[in-house]
Every structure is written in structure tokens, then in C-alpha cells.
């Protein structure tokens, strides 16, 4: 086996050329000759000659450095007469190491050729090692880039790109980790190993195509994975050229097309689904990056808080009531797990929201946290609804209970009338009639209050003549009050007095109090003359209504609770809504209502309605 395949002999001496040529040919080496180094240079490059034997007799006047440069890229071996050997060697620069004595001895010649081959192999190995380092560093660089490219990371991280280095004989010299993972350990195997038989339509594998064509080859090829799966890939095979512009190595790189296509399709489908869900869900949704900045919001969020993309989440919705970094978003950042918590958040306009907040991680397939999904449900509305439902339940319960009482009272009235006739007791008949009327009144009030509660309406101001209004209110209750053997006195303003108020609402509120006063007096068993006084007057900026009775009165506790919803005191059976609604009516007028009472003496309700602008200049609900 020849150590080198091509050698140049440069000498002007025919005997040296002839002797050297014979020795080389006998070793199977192809020999080229020239009489001068500059004549040899072109041949060396054209024929890719590996070593040049230079007779120093032919280059006496030339510098050795120039000679070495002229014969590049072949390696020089100098031939020197034995008598001049020592002198020549002592004058050699350090870079030149190969010198042979003439006449050539075959063993010396072969040894020198061997050393030159070793030197070339070392250079080749160094280049291979260098290329391999580039590939390895490239993988690292790509990984590093991928870490910083948000959004693109899922492509780069998940690309199954396989890189391998091949020699020009089609042998695999090196493969990266992805390659090994997908195809197994293939170093030393043929470049065509991963391509299934028959898949190439008779053409070369991409590596050998690149060697043959001496350029980058890019083509779609079927590869066979270690698990048996065959799939198409896009292969790029790039030759690394030597000094002669000949391929010395080939780098082969590919990523799976099918997987990419499928991944792209899956991502597109998922994106579409999430987009629809995102927009349809009636909760607030925000997507945050790892700096807790908002990167996307759903329409509901945008509607109520604005498009806050780019802003820090907790700058725009300030949390309170939770320790720092213990909120669900921060907890997700810590452990990449989902968390939930009720948060009180204050928006930039100062509004407070009670939000049930869920935060969940969005991760790459390898588990790396990408984004945080925040879903919030406004609990304030739910709480209000719950309160309303509770109130409704309570009201219905109270109504039911009191209605039963009133129906029993109606039974009582009818019993008294019935037995009054049967036993011929006119007083009993009259009592029965009174009781029945009272019960009917109670039931009517209950129904009215329920309807009012169910249909809360805004206030409709009009400019009202107070004298007429007061007389109207009095007329509504007068007959019933006097019929209960109660004295009814009215004190109204003498001159014309006008005031802005809602006459329908206020009339109902005043009748409510007057009828309560009547009922208190009727229910009171004390032996005395009962009296109700209804007084109306103006006092600086207020219109004042006073209703006095000398009935049973209330203790302190009853006075405190009297305006609460569903409160009802002894003898005042109803929905529990009456005085609550009265208070609401007064509140809508921006007015006040107060009560003074003493047990056994009586009660006084005082209502003050302030003077306001005419209705056209003021709207109020």
C-alpha cells in the first residue's frame, strides 16, 4: 500500500530524477517531474500532489522559503548530496525538517514519505476537530438564541435537527445528540445508512452528491428513524473544501418536514380554539409574560379596563389583602403550578373589584414556563346577587308568615260577625267588621310593599302645591283613622307653598306612617283617647312633615331597628318592608326621617325634604 499516492520530483539532474522515479514507482506512487520549482507549482495544484522531492542542486540561488511556498500545498522533502548534507542541515530554517541524502536509499525515502503522510493526517484531524467544534458550538449558540426568542422557542427547541460530519468516502465521522437520539450511534457507519433502500431512486445519498458536485445539496429525502418510522426530511449537505478546493468533509443537516408541518397545523388549530375560547368566555382573561406584564387580554377585560398590553399587571390592578409575592401570579412563577385566590383589586380609576383569580402556567413541552394565564371572575356581582337572593328569600318568608297571620285575622273578623249575628250581639258584629277591614288593609299594604320592592323606580320631580298635597294625603287616611275611634288633627301651612318632590312616592311614604300610627292606636289596649296629629310646615330650607300618635310607643331597641329591612314590631304586622321603603323614598328626595318615641306615651315621626332645583335641572335615581 503506498504511503502517498502522488509525488513530484524537482531536479535538473536526469540521474537524480531517474533514480528517484524508479524507487517511487516501485512503491506504487505516481510520479511527476519538473526541472524547477516554479515549473512544478502548476502541476502540483492540478494533480493534487501530496509531497515534492526537491534537489537542492536545482535551487542553489533561491530562498528555501520561496521554494516551500512555491510547492504548496504539497509538503517539501529536500534531496542533498551526502557531502553537503551536514552543512545544508545546519542552515535549514526550523520549519523545514525533511532532508534526504543522495543517492537515495529506499528505506529513508519511504520513512520520509510516511512522515509526510502522518503530517497531512494530523492536519486533517485538526481541521475535522475544528469543524466539529464549530458544529457543537453552533448547537449551543442556537440553544442560547432559542432561550431568548420568546414565541419562536417552541419551533427551535422542538426542531429535531440532526447534524453529522462525513468523510468523502461516505463514512460518518461525527453525529450530534439529536442525531443519536433519532437514529442511534452511527459513527463509523455509511452515510447512506439512514436512507432506506430504494428510497433514493438510484441516486447518491446527499453526502456523496455533495462530494461529487462539490457544492451544497438540498433535497427532500426519506429517512428511517431508529424506531422504524420512515419520514421525509429536508437534507442539506455542505462540503467542507480543502486547500485544493476539493471536498474534504461533508456536513449533513436536516429537520423533519412532516413533523414541522404537523406541528404548525396543531399550533394553528390550538391557537384558533384558544382564540375563540378567549373571546367567548365572560370572565376577565389576561396573558402575562414572565415579567408579569400583560401581553394579551380578552374583549371583556378590554371593555372594562382598557387595552393594557405592555403594562405590569399589578400596576394597573393593585392588589390588597394579600402578602407581597403571595398572589396567585407570583406563586405560579415560583412553582409553575396553578393557583387561585380571592383578591381585592383596585383599578386605575379607583374602583375596587372583588375578584376570584385563577393563575395557570403556560409551558413548553419540556416544562419551561412561557407565560401565565390569568382568569378573573368578578365576585362583587355574585355577592350582590347572593345578597339580593337572600333578601328575596327573607322577604318571601316574612311575607308568607305575616300573610298567614292576616288571613287568620280575617277569619277572626268573620267569626265575630258570624257569631255576632247568631248570638244577637251587635257590638260583636261591629268589632268583626273592624277587624276584617284592618286585616284587608294589612294585606293590601303587604302587597303594595312587595310590588314596590320588586319594581324600584326612579324619582319623578314635579313642582307641587304643598297645601293640596297634604290635604290629599290626609283624605286618604282620614276615614279609616276616624273609624277606629281615633282623633285626627291636621296642621297645614296657610299660604301657598310650592316644593319640588315626587308626589306619588312621597304620598305613599306618608300614608305608610299614618296607617302605622293608626294600627298602633287600634292595637293599644289602654283605656284612653287616641290621637294622631299630621303637621306640615316649612323651616328654613326644609319642608317638614310630622306625624304624632299617643299610642303604645317603642323602646330604644325598637327605635334603632325600625327602619331596617324586615323589621316589624309588636302590632305592626306586615312584610317588614313598610318603613324601609318609606326611608328609601325619603333618601331619594335627599331628605331625612327620624323618630322619637316613649313607651306608654307615644311616637313622633319627622320627615324633612330639602329644597332643590326644579325638575328640568336635576335628574336623580
Amino acid at each position: 500500500m503506498p504511503t502517498l499516492s502522488k509525488v513530484m520530483v524537482v531536479s535538473s539532474r536526469k540521474d537524480v530524477v531517474s533514480d528517484t522515479e524508479s524507487l517511487l514507482i516501485s512503491e506504487g506512487v505516481s510520479v511527476y517531474t519538473a526541472n524547477r520549482p516554479d515549473n512544478a507549482a502548476k502541476l502540483i495544484k492540478e494533480n493534487k500532489i501530496e509531497a515534492t522531492l526537491i534537489d537542492i542542486e536545482s535551487i542553489k540561488d533561491e530562498s528555501l522559503t520561496d521554494i516551500v511556498a512555491a510547492v504548496r500545498p504539497s509538503l517539501p522533502i529536500f534531496l542533498c548530496n551526502a557531502s553537503e548534507y551536514s552543512t545544508f542541515c545546519s542552515e535549514l530554517p526550523e520549519t523545514i525538517t525533511e532532508v534526504l541524502r543522495l543517492p537515495l536509499a529506499k528505506p529513508d525515502l519511504l520513512l520520509a514519505l510516511k512522515r509526510v503522510k502522518g503530517q497531512k493526517h494530523k492536519e486533517s484531524q485538526e481541521k475535522f476537530s475544528f469543524v466539529r467544534q464549530i458544529i457543537q458550538n453552533m448547537s449551543l449558540y442556537i440553544e442560547k438564541i432559542a432561550e431568548h426568542v420568546q414565541g419562536g422557542i417552541k419551533y427551535i427547541d422542538d426542531l429535531p435537527y440532526c447534524v453529522s460530519i462525513h468523510d468523502t468516502n461516505g463514512t460518518i465521522l461525527y453525529t450530534n445528540n439529536n442525531y443519536i437520539e433519532n437514529f442511534g450511534e452511527k459513527t463509523g457507519c455509511s452515510s447512506s445508512d439512514i436512507y432506506p433502500a430504494g428510497s433514493d431512486n438510484g441516486s447518491d445519498n446527499p453526502v456523496m452528491s455533495a462530494v461529487r458536485q462539490k457544492k451544497i445539496v438540498s433535497e427532500k429525502r426519506i429517512v428511517s428513524y431508529r424506531n422504524g418510522l420512515e419520514a421525509p426530511v429536508f437534507v442539506h449537505a455542505a462540503p467542507i473544501l480543502d486547500a485544493y478546493s476539493e471536498p474534504e468533509f461533508v456536513i449533513e443537516v436536516f429537520a423533519g418536514t412532516q413533523e414541522l408541518d404537523q406541528m404548525a397545523r396543531d399550533i394553528s388549530d390550538t391557537q384558533q380554539n384558544y382564540h375563540q375560547l378567549f373571546n367567548a368566555v365572560p370572565s376577565y382573561i389576561a396573558v402575562l409574560n414572565r415579567s408579569k406584564e400583560i401581553t394579551a387580554v380578552n374583549p371583556r377585560f378590554r371593555e372594562d379596563f382598557g387595552d393594557l398590553t405592555g403594562r405590569a399587571f399589578f400596576d394597573v390592578l393593585k392588589p390588597s389583602g394579600v402578602p407581597v409575592d403571595n398572589d396567585p401570579v407570583s406563586l405560579v412563577m415560583k412553582d409553575s403550578e396553578a393557583h387561585q385566590e380571592e383578591l381585592v383589586l383596585t383599578s386605575e380609576d379607583g374602583r375596587q373589584y372583588n375578584m376570584m383569580t385563577w393563575a395557570a402556567p403556560v409551558k413548553t413541552p419540556t416544562g419551561k414556563l412561557l407565560q401565565i394565564l390569568v382568569v378573573m371572575a368578578d365576585k362583587t356581582e355574585m355577592r350582590t346577587l347572593k345578597d339580593n337572593l337572600s333578601s328575596l328569600g327573607l322577604m318571601l318568608g316574612t311575607l308568607s308568615h305575616n300573610l298567614k297571620g292576616s288571613l287568620t285575622g280575617l277569619d277572626a273578623g268573620l267569626y265575630l260577625i258570624d257569631t255576632g249575628f247568631y248570638r244577637n250581639k251587635p257590638a260583636r258584629i261591629e268589632e268583626g267588621l273592624d277587624v276584617s277591614k284592618l286585616m284587608v288593609d294589612r294585606i293590601r299594604k303587604m302587597i303594595f310593599n312587595v310590588l314596590y320592592y320588586a319594581k324600584d323606580r326612579g324619582i319623578n320631580y314635579s313642582n307641587v302645591n304643598i297645601l293640596q298635597f297634604a290635604n290629599d294625603v290626609a283624605a286618604h287616611v282620614e276615614n279609616r283613622i276616624r273609624g277606629g275611634n281615633i282623633s285626627f288633627e291636621c296642621e297645614f301651612p296657610e299660604e301657598d307653598l310650592y316644593w319640588s318632590l315626587d308626589p306619588d312616592l312621597l304620598r305613599s311614604a306618608l300614608i305608610n306612617i299614618l296607617e302605622n300610627a293608626r294600627e298602633v292606636c287600634i292595637s293599644d289596649q289602654a283605656e284612653k283617647t287616641f290621637q294622631i296629629r299630621f303637621k306640615v310646615y316649612s323651616e328654613s330650607k326644609d319642608l317638614v312633615f310630622e306625624i304624632h300618635d299617643n299610642g303604645i310607643g317603642m323602646d330604644e331597641d325598637q327605635q334603632k331597628q325600625i327602619f331596617s329591612i324586615f323589621s316589624s314590631s309588636k302590632g305592626l304586622k306586615g312584610t317588614g318592608l313598610g318603613l324601609f321603603i318609606t326611608k328609601e323614598v325619603i333618601r331619594k328626595h335627599n331628605g331625612t326621617i327620624s323618630v322619637q318615641s316613649e313607651q306608654g306615651v307615644g311616637t313622633c315621626f319627622s320627615i324633612k325634604i330639602p329644597k332643590i332645583l326644579p325638575p328640568k335641572d336635576k335628574t336623580r335615581k
Partner: protein, 117 residues
């Protein structure tokens, strides 16, 4: 001697109703408008039977009943519950009868007659 029936209810209309029905049928009546007042009346007059409303201020029916039955002298006084509160009949498990308002006075009279004569 007439039997004494005590009527405990905070609604004076119902008290008056029961008083009339019972007195029309030969019973003497005692009344109270809440549990506290009723205790005094029981101490002073010791009724033969009690009709008891449940939902009353100051001391409501079930508490009054518990206190009544703690006293050996009174624990055997029969009690008829007459109430508008739904589902409360079981709060006084030894009541002779439970009537929901509105009630039929004939039914109440029958139970009273069957219990005390």
C-alpha cells in the same frame, strides 16, 4: 268550675279571636303577648291548657315551652301550638297538637275538649 285556657300570642287580633271562640264554648281564658309575660300568668293562675304561638318577641314559643317543662308543677300542662311558622311543629315535640295559621277554630276546640274536657 270552668277550665282555664291560656292564649299566648303577640297578635292581639288572634288573641281576641281565640278568646272569643273559647269563651263562647264555656272556657275561661287568660292571655299573654310573649313568653315572659306568659310565665307570670302561669305562676299566678295555673291554666289547664295553653295555646302557644311560636314567633313572638322577648321570649319566643319554644324557649317558653322549655322553661315551662323544667318546672315540675307545670310540665304536665298540655300545650297546643298555633303558629304561622312553617316546619316548626317539631320544635315542641310533646305538644298535644299543632295548628298552622290560618286554622279552623272547630278543630282547635275539638282538641281542647278532648284534652281537658
Amino acid at each position: 268550675m270552668k277550665k282555664k285556657v291560656m292564649i299566648i300570642d303577640d297578635d292581639p287580633v288572634i288573641v281576641n279571636y281565640l278568646e272569643t271562640v273559647l269563651s263562647d264554648n264555656g272556657y275561661d281564658t287568660l292571655t299573654a303577648s310573649d313568653g315572659l309575660e306568659a310565665r307570670e300568668v302561669v305562676d299566678n293562675f295555673k291554666p289547664d291548657l295553653i295555646t302557644l304561638d311560636l314567633d313572638m318577641p322577648n321570649e319566643w314559643g319554644p324557649r317558653f315551652y322549655r322553661n315551662l317543662t323544667k318546672n315540675k308543677a307545670y310540665k304536665n300542662i298540655p300545650v297546643i301550638v298555633i303558629s304561622g311558622l312553617a316546619g316548626r311543629e317539631h320544635s315542641i315535640n310533646k305538644a298535644v297538637a299543632f295548628f298552622a295559621k290560618p286554622f279552623n277554630p272547630e278543630d282547635v276546640l275539638k282538641v281542647v275538649k278532648d284534652t281537658i274536657g
